[in-house]
Symmetry: C2
Subunit: 547 residues, 2 copies
């Protein structure tokens, strides 16, 4: 059977836009002689609509859209994903379904069995699990239809306290009893650099175990924090990956399930390249889908804002990025110069504003109230917040979205000022540890020096008081990042982390900083997620707790 895998970038709730893309995909596949076109999970609504699923009107629109798409399925069949109402008396009010469309109509509907409800996934919040299994027969082929997690009844776990069998049913075990010729999977599986190989491992192991080819079609594109990387594949019954679609781009491919042909794989890239590409797509889609074109950010001369500026220019174009240099009396001699050189290398507009007069206005007005108090973090925060007002003024006046430049290491330990440098519509590096920010800078400078070398090699500093260095109050980033990764991604205890070769007192101090700063992260900008555990929606910690 000739099947077209169509990997598209959907906008949540954009029924017209999404169905337009789907219908064009069907028409193109038909011209190519496909029998069946495969789209991704919840393709009609975009993944994931969250509580829009609680709106009757939203579900009605989804149903109508599926019916419209069906009318375009003549001489060709299609599998699209959409929610549907559970008509049974009991259970959650929706199913997460795959609609098999042919001869201008919905021929059958197949519901998702395994509903991920962990990390960033909330599917049991909205959906009832499937309990009945059936096969589609079409043009002499028996097709087993699965939706994303349905193949993941055995999960790899990064954390030893995790469970590898979260579910009591194995959909493919049930479907394999019905003697299918091949398996299709409609997927919406987000990118994370440290879990990315698991996905292929699971698909390969399932193909081998059941001796069945698997056609896997993933969503591509960013939905606020989540970045879907595409990379749809066809795996043969021996577990070999035979075809692989592009990463971080829309793509489609016609395959013949009975003549798989030559291997067509994507070039292997390193994890920093993948993070780079993911972040560029994350910025581009956040702006594009919000209906915005232009970004602004403050350029400090430090590495975080430098990397964000480069990624922003790659996502939006130099003409759409405008940076602000905001030196204070504590800014080092090089900082402004480094920032200026970077802006010139990138060809972005830059302006310099001086924060001192505004800072002075606050300090003068507060002086009677602060009489007898020593300077402390209050004055440092005023500087950061004054800068926050300047960049937000650019954002408001010219309709630019402010990009936040906080990295994951800082965000973890609360090294940043609420309503100051924590401002922004999107946190580009919020899921990238400092050491990986350095690696990104080296990747960016691979062919020529875009980011001034001095920005990369100078010791990190917030420059909020004379001669301040990050390492005055934090361990070296090499060590800090390892402690944080083991605590945040791997959920290890302080004792277990110390056993990796760190001083237990320092580990406990770092972890206390992580726990005490939940209140700051609660109000942080949405973070582009590139790891298996990003701050934000996928990590839900009580704000008020004694632990």
């Amino acid at each position: 059977m000739k099947v077209s895998l169509v990997q598209l970038n959907y906008t949540i709730g954009d029924f017209e836009g999404n169905s337009g893309k789907i219908i064009r995909g069907i028409e193109k596949a038909k011209k190519q002689g496909a029998d069946l076109v495969l789209f991704s999970e919840l393709s009609v609504t975009g993944y994931y609509p969250h509580d829009l699923l609680e709106k009757k009107e939203f579900i009605r629109r989804a149903e109508e859209t599926v019916a419209q798409i069906a009318q375009h399925c003549n001489g060709i069949a299609a599998l699209v994903g959409a929610p549907r109402v559970n008509e049974n008396e009991r259970g959650k009010k929706l199913f997460n379904s795959a609609f098999f469309l042919a001869d201008g109509k919905i021929q059958s509907i197949h519901n998702k069995t395994l509903l991920p409800t962990y990390d960033i996934f909330d599917e049991y919040r909205h959906f009832e699990p499937n309990r009945e299994f059936s096969i589609v027969e079409y043009k002499g082929e028996r097709i087993a239809i699965t939706i994303c997690e349905d193949l993941w009844d055995e999960l790899p776990t990064a954390n030893e306290f995790g469970k590898d069998k979260l579910y009591s049913v194995s959909p493919l075990e049930e479907l394999s009893k019905l003697d299918p010729n091949f398996v299709v999977n409609l997927s919406a599986s987000p990118f994370s650099y440290n879990q990315e190989s698991w996905r292929k491992d699971v698909l390969v192991s399932k193909a081998k175990k059941y001796h069945l080819p698997i056609l896997y079609c993933n969503q591509v594109g960013a939905q606020t924090e989540l970045i879907f990387d595409g990379g749809s594949v066809l795996i043969d019954r021996e577990g070999e990956i035979v075809k692989e679609l592009k990463y971080f781009e829309e793509d489609s491919l016609l395959v013949d399930t009975n003549h798989l042909g030559e291997k067509q794989l994507q070039a292997e890239t390193g994890y920093i390249e993948k993070i780079h590409d993911a972040l560029v797509l994350g910025i581009r889609d956040y702006f594009g889908k919000m209906g915005f074109k232009q970004a602004t950010l403050g350029l400090s001369g430090g590495i975080d804002s430098a990397v964000v500026a480069v990624l922003a220019v790659r996502a939006l174009g130099a003409e759409n990025v405008r940076v602000l240099l905001m030196p204070s009396k504590y800014s080092s001699v090089h900082s402004v110069e480094d920032a200026r050189v970077l802006a010139e290398n990138l060809g972005t507009r830059y302006d310099i504003v001086h924060i001192q007069k505004a800072v002075d206005a606050f300090e003068t007005e507060m002086a009677p109230l602060f009489e007898g108090c020593a300077p402390d973090v209050t004055e440092e925060n005023i500087q950061a917040r004054v800068r926050g007002i300047f960049v937000m003024a650019i954002s408001n006046k010219f309709g630019h979205i402010l990009l936040n430049t906080t990295n994951k290491s800082e965000s973890a330990v609360g090294y940043g000022t609420l309503y100051g440098d924590m401002n922004g519509g999107l946190a580009v590096l919020g899921d990238v540890y400092k050491m990986d920010v350095y690696k990104l800078s080296r990747l960016i400078n691979k062919d020529r020096e875009i980011i001034p070398e001095n920005t990369i090699i100078k010791p990190p500093s917030a420059e909020l008081r004379p001669d301040q260095k990050d390492t005055d109050s934090l361990p070296e980033y090499e060590d800090l990042d390892q402690m944080l990764f083991n605590y945040i991604e791997l959920n290890k205890s302080p004792r277990e982390i110390a056993a990796l070769g760190f001083d237990e007192e320092i580990v406990r101090r770092v972890i206390r900083m992580v726990n005490m700063n939940e209140y700051k992260r609660f109000q942080a900008a949405p973070i582009l997620r590139v790891s298996s555990k990003a701050f934000g929606f996928g990590r839900r910690m009580p704000l008020v707790a004694r632990y």
Copy 2:
């Protein structure tokens, strides 16, 4: 059987503090001659620990604590709530359990069957549902043990698209077959003014249906956004509420399941009184459990900040509240005077700072960049953000938590400045519509004028430009609040809302404002929840969507 209902205020993760309270409850009940003491759901950890449940160390501490509490159960039995590891090969790694403790040991463990996973509840994220039912036999009585939602297999729904039977099992149906003498329920059911009667209705209907007395023990106290109201009850087999514990306070009561005795109920209060008491408890516990004592806020002369100041004083004491008056050239003549009178009525420290010089410093510095641009919302936001810096400076310098004064109507339509008046550690009125803020002010002034009458009667204004009124850009609050309630709480469509008697174009414009401002609310302070649908954790909307 003599049973003591012990309704306590727990701190999440405070194993020592919580077990200390529980053990004191056991010892007191023993002195009173109780056979059994009943605590609330997850009493050992506090409800709800969220992803702390993913930490092995946290679960180990919970297990140890239960074992320690068991040692205090000699000559008396107790039911406490805690998570435990699911030792089965498949399924989520934990159960949400009730531990029956007697003779110094854990005698039996009973797992929760129905795991709420909607609105603010995330239980299926962490827990595997129970599938086996058993009864505890103790001192000749047969006790059916249930945990919170277990009695809610039939839910009332406010929204017609909601489902009233979310689950496929009825735990009480199963347990009633085992011939119990009475039912106990360990609960953690948060307050919401418009669902509060449902709880009693469910308990009453279950007692009647199965002709069984129900002893219901609820948690009390606030956990960041969620406010648990207590109000534990004993209901007889005819469905009469015979005993009722206090609301918004710790309380305990010894009852005899065979001689229920006289009715002891709490006085009925109106919904505004309940919201008032909930908010006071919400502020008090946020501070107390965070280890903070003192609050600050900006007092504008308007009604929202006035009501917050009063609630803060009631929660923390006048000596722990410090307010800042921050007039600008657009402040009305009365505003400063009203704010000053309120501060004096309350006996709180107040200071006046003038924002104009700081505002001017920004405008001067930005002038070359803004050349040729008309004044717009940018300049209004600068004022709001300058005030935000001033109050945060007080917060930083003196260790006060800033209280946010945004109400639910404003939050809904995005009427507020990010990093300006949206600042704060806790949003006191974020779940209270403007018309209810007025009602709160009338309740506060019931006996004497605390809030100046002028603050209550003047037309609402942000005072960010000359003669600005909220109704310049918004419908009258009477109408706006109704539109919002029908959209947010009831999930109605624009057409359905217009059918209540509003102009459909205006309804659509209001709903567009709600949808377009998800990005602002994403970065808002945690909101004390008093309704069935608050902004925040219980309402999860995609930020980037076209709907």
